[in-house]
């Protein structure tokens, strides 16, 4: 067996990764991730406001993976037929006393343009503009509309302390790897 974990471990050392998980993400797992990270942050004496922000960003980015990742598997524990889990990576790190949350997952190339437009728009906004944009969009969504309609992405930008960073890397004709990072 090739022992590739050494390289991954080396990579994690540098940006002080506190937590990283790659694989199918479920709601139950998300709750455990939040617990684990909260425990670690409490040990670091992190203030409540920062803890809530980190928690919020982990939730939005993980639920994005659960709902929208192009890489999916059937949920073996679900009682509802057709329930699926999304695959992706979620990582929490700390650098120069700032926390960061990063997620990555596959996305179909055809779904990139609207997402990229939304991310670009939010990226260029001031915190006040992001707040306004969030409230306006929240009002507009109909109960039967899209499950999130980008509200999650805007929420991540609101909770982050600086503009979010994102990237799309082409994997093949069908998919790209979508990576997003928020610094709190």
């Amino acid at each position: 067996m090739d022992c590739d974990l050494y390289d991954i471990w080396r990579k994690y050392e540098e940006p002080d990764i506190l937590f990283c998980l790659n694989g199918p993400i479920s709601q139950d797992l998300l709750v455990e991730i939040c617990d684990t990270v909260a425990h670690k942050l409490r040990l670091d004496n992190t203030d409540t406001a920062t803890m809530i922000k980190v928690h919020a960003i982990i939730v939005e980015l993980s639920q994005n993976i659960i709902r929208y990742s192009a890489e999916r598997v059937a949920d073996p524990r679900s009682k509802i037929d057709g329930n699926e889990l999304g695959l992706g990576i979620i990582a929490v790190g700390c650098h120069n006393n700032r926390y960061m949350v990063t997620s990555g997952n596959l996305i179909e190339n055809s779904k990139i343009p609207p997402l990229e437009r939304l991310l670009g728009k939010v990226h260029a906004m001031s915190p006040t503009e992001i707040r306004k944009f969030f409230l306006a969009r929240r009002k507009r969504i109909t109960p039967n509309g899209s499950r999130g309609a980008g509200l999650g992405i805007i929420e991540v930008s609101r909770k982050a302390g600086e503009p979010i960073v994102y990237e799309f890397r082409r994997v093949d004709k069908k998919c790209s790897f979508f990576c997003i990072k928020a610094v709190i």
Binding site: C34, D47, R131, L135, I141
Partner: protein, 127 residues
Amino acid sequence: MENILIQGTKYTPDIEFDERRNALKIKGYSYPENAAAFYEPVLGWLRSYLDQAHTPPLAIDMEMIYFNSSSSKILLDLFDLLDQYARQGRAVSVNWIYDEDNESAYECGVEFEEDIQHLQFRLMKKT
């Protein structure tokens, strides 16, 4: 009418109607995968309660520590519903209870308050 009681979990709030005080308490975290499905019984209960002819004033104590963006949408719907009843003259009020250290909870309360016209909505620091 039947009382509502939903036991909280790590990602859904405790929801309980206190009959002696005529107060509906919603307290905890809210980040279920499907927030619309989770809150549907609560909205249904509120409609039935407020549709009754003679009911004492209803107070709603909300102490949300954290909620995700899809819960936020449903909570807005919930306040819209209560606002409509208040406009028709039903006595209903909301106490938005927040912890001093939790600035997000306070800000979210302020944002909901901005959208409300008729409903009595109080921001209350937890003592």
